[in-house]
């Protein structure tokens, strides 16, 4: 008996001390080791940085203002000065076609659009807008949904029923129809929208951001509320209650850290979805309004030039695909690293 105890003691002494490991650190390490996810993250950050450099590109490299019509402008191709709007081909020489891609970063790299504006510079500015709206609305949506889900799941009863029914109603809205209706409606207001002291002009980026944030709230609310319900009666929450913790303390230091993984897993996928939605709304003319450009509005600008100057539409589409693809791959990586078995859009 004593020998066994002695052996056990020896074993304990031999074992190296186990360092306490933070679960976030472990998840971070798993993500770091996932090469594909890291490549996606690098690609996404690269797109963000390049888009943020848009003003520098426009003023120092391309020397153009991509927000001003330039129908009578000229540019340089192979050392020769040529007009931006070229006379149409055919026998009648009717109509004008903007200049196509020149493959020269200083002079209309991707050509001009129907108003003679530099497509490459607009593409970068458009990226800035699209990313701003995409990330902004995803963050607003997640914050709002998380707080509502915490309140609903924690207080339960009537609060929960009311909030959940409200979310069910938003869920039943035809997403695209709803966003388009609100977008159109707000843009037809002659003097913008006034809510109390807040005044938003019709061309403000806040309108598409808030509309898009609103329509995806139930998609985050449902999984987060589900997670709150599984956590709220756990022993550590009861222990906190028995120690007299306040509701705020229970919500934010006991429950929130245990449901936030659901939000973190969803976030890249929500950003991907909001970027696609912004592009769709802007393509239809009810999202981003001039003078701002976004990837969606540039595709829309290019649709009238589709058969003559296809790159005006193709280039922003490629940017959207790359961005959304990077976010989807990153989202898979984050899910694998945290693995709370969350899925976007599980019907209920």
């Amino acid at each position: 008996m004593a020998a066994i105890l002695e052996q056990a003691e020896a074993a304990t002494e031999l074992r190296p001390a186990i360092a306490g490991r933070n679960p976030w650190l472990l998840a971070g390490r798993r993500l770091w080791r996932n090469r594909i996810a890291m490549a996606a993250l690098v690609l996404f950050l690269l797109i963000v940085v390049v888009s943020l450099l848009a003003p520098l590109y426009a003023s120092h490299i391309a020397h153009t203002n991509p927000f001003v019509n330039n129908l009578n402008g000229t540019t340089v191709v192979h050392g020769k000065r040529v007009p931006l709007m070229q006379q149409g081909g055919g026998i009648l020489k009717l109509g004008e076609t903007p200049i196509g891609p020149t493959r020269d970063v200083h002079h209309y790299f991707l050509g001009a659009d129907a108003l003679g504006r530099d497509v490459a510079a607009r593409l970068l500015y458009g990226g800035r807008t699209s990313l701003l709206i995409g990330i902004g609305s995803a963050v607003i949506c997640s914050l709002f949904a998380t707080v509502t889900a915490l309140i609903a799941g924690f207080f339960g009863g009537v609060t929960d029923s009311l909030l959940s029914r409200l979310m069910d109603v938003i869920w039943a809205f035809p997403v695209l129809l709803f966003a388009i209706s609100v977008g159109t409606e707000l843009q037809t207001l002659p003097h913008g929208l006034s809510v109390g002291p807040v005044h938003i002009v019709a061309s403000s980026l806040w309108l598409p951001t808030l509309i898009i944030a609103f329509i995806y709230v139930p998609y985050v609310y449902r999984p987060v509320r589900g997670q709150v319900l599984t956590v709220v009666h756990r022993e550590y929450v009861e222990a906190s209650i028995s120690q007299g913790a306040s509701n705020v303390r229970l919500l934010f230091s006991d429950i929130l850290p245990n449901v936030i993984t659901v939000v973190i897993v969803l976030l890249p996928l929500i950003i991907a979805t909001t970027i696609l939605t912004e592009a769709a709304l802007s393509f239809l003319g009810v999202g981003v309004q001039p003078p701002n450009a976004s990837w969606g509005t540039i595709i829309s600008d290019g649709s009238s030039l589709l058969y003559t100057r296809p790159w005006v539409s193709i280039a922003p589409g490629i940017m959207i695909v790359l961005t959304v693809l990077a976010l989807n791959v990153l989202g898979d990586g984050v899910r694998d690293a945290l693995d709370p078995r969350a899925k976007l859009r599980v019907g209920g």
């Binding site: 695209l176 003097h191 393509f283 296809p310 539409s313 019907g347």
Partner: protein, 323 residues
């Protein structure tokens, strides 16, 4: 079961009431918006405006206005469009519905067949290079904006390669009804079908693959193998059946959303005059009755799809009870 149906019916009515009331307030009561002006056209005189207000009941109190519109929409079904007063809204939507249904049904057939083939292939070939390749393809499919795919498809089939043998059969943009010419219907819709289905092929292939891999670990699949069933039978009768539950519910929801004018972008890009296209047109001239009717129509299909999915779920998975 009966209580379930009654509850769901009441819920449907409630949702449609909330949505229609919301749209009504949005379009008729937002400060700065005057529907009478939208009807009257440019520079109307005050008398004409007053006359129009009276004629369309816009001088009534707000709840009466709402009730009048709902009565015209659901009971007498003779709600008149504001922009073209010879057009009744309800028959107009019914006339546009076949184009939308043709588009969505065809795309659904393609996406179910393709996603099942890809999902099963990826799950069975796990550990080989085929699986990650298929999944990357699926991810790219999910990441492409459908209207952009449509434009690129138009560029290829209508312009750049239209004169080659590959795409010379593609008719000009637009919709030919099935009764007019079945062949023209099929030719005109094939490219839109493929465009619309790409996103869902990617989405469903990923879902199915994940579910098959999850189901593979279930005890009943091991039991089926232990009984000595062939791999083929285990896959088709046991694994796949268990994997299809969430696939079916996703399908129901997406199909409902698409019929509810969710295919609007595809319809606009390919000039298919369906419900989504009609909605887009009505927005252009702020034709409130048509917008209202289509939003209510869309909400109805989404709620209906949810109910059908719940019933299908309980039928496929006997552990779920409907209450």
């Amino acid at each position: 079961m009966l209580t379930f149906i009654v509850r769901r019916l009441l819920w449907t009515v409630l949702v449609m009431f909330v949505i229609s009331a919301f749209v009504f307030v949005l379009f008729f009561k937002t400060p700065g918006i005057d529907p009478a002006r939208a009807i009257a056209g440019r520079n109307p005189s005050p008398q004409i405006l007053a006359e129009i207000r009276h004629q369309f009941g816009l001088d009534e109190p707000f709840p009466v206005q709402y009730a009048l519109m709902m009565k015209d929409l659901f009971i007498t079904r003779d709600l008149v469009s504001y922009s073209n007063q010879g057009v009744k809204v309800v028959p107009e939507i019914f006339a546009a519905a076949p184009a939308t249904l043709s588009l969505v049904f065809g795309a659904a057939v393609i996406w179910v067949v393709m996603s099942m083939a890809l999902g099963i292939a990826a799950a069975l070939l796990r550990g080989t290079i085929v699986d990650p390749l298929l999944m990357i393809l699926a991810l790219i499919g999910i990441s492409m904006p459908v209207f952009w795919v449509g434009e690129v498809a138009n560029l290829i089939t209508q312009s750049r390669f239209h004169d080659t043998f590959l795409f010379s059969w593609v008719p000009p943009l637009g919709y030919t009804s099935f009764t007019q010419s079945p062949v023209g219907w099929f030719k005109g819709l094939l490219i839109p079908w493929i465009t619309l289905s790409i996103l869902y092929i990617g989405l469903y292939a990923r879902v199915l693959r994940a579910n098959i891999i999850e189901t593979e670990g279930e005890d009943y699949v091991r039991t089926a193998r232990a009984k000595g069933l062939t791999e083929r039978r285990v896959l088709l009768r046991h694994t796949l059946r268990g994997s299809m539950i969430s696939y079916v519910s996703l399908f129901g929801l997406d199909f409902g959303a698409l019929v509810a004018a969710g295919a609007l972008l595809t319809e606009v890009v390919f000039a298919i005059h369906g419900v989504g296209f009609l909605f887009f047109q009505s927005l252009g001239n702020l034709d409130l009755p048509t917008i209202m009717a289509i939003v209510v129509y869309g909400a109805f299909f989404i709620v209906l799809a949810n109910v059908i999915v719940d019933i299908a779920y309980a039928w496929l998975d006997p552990r779920v009870r409907l209450t």
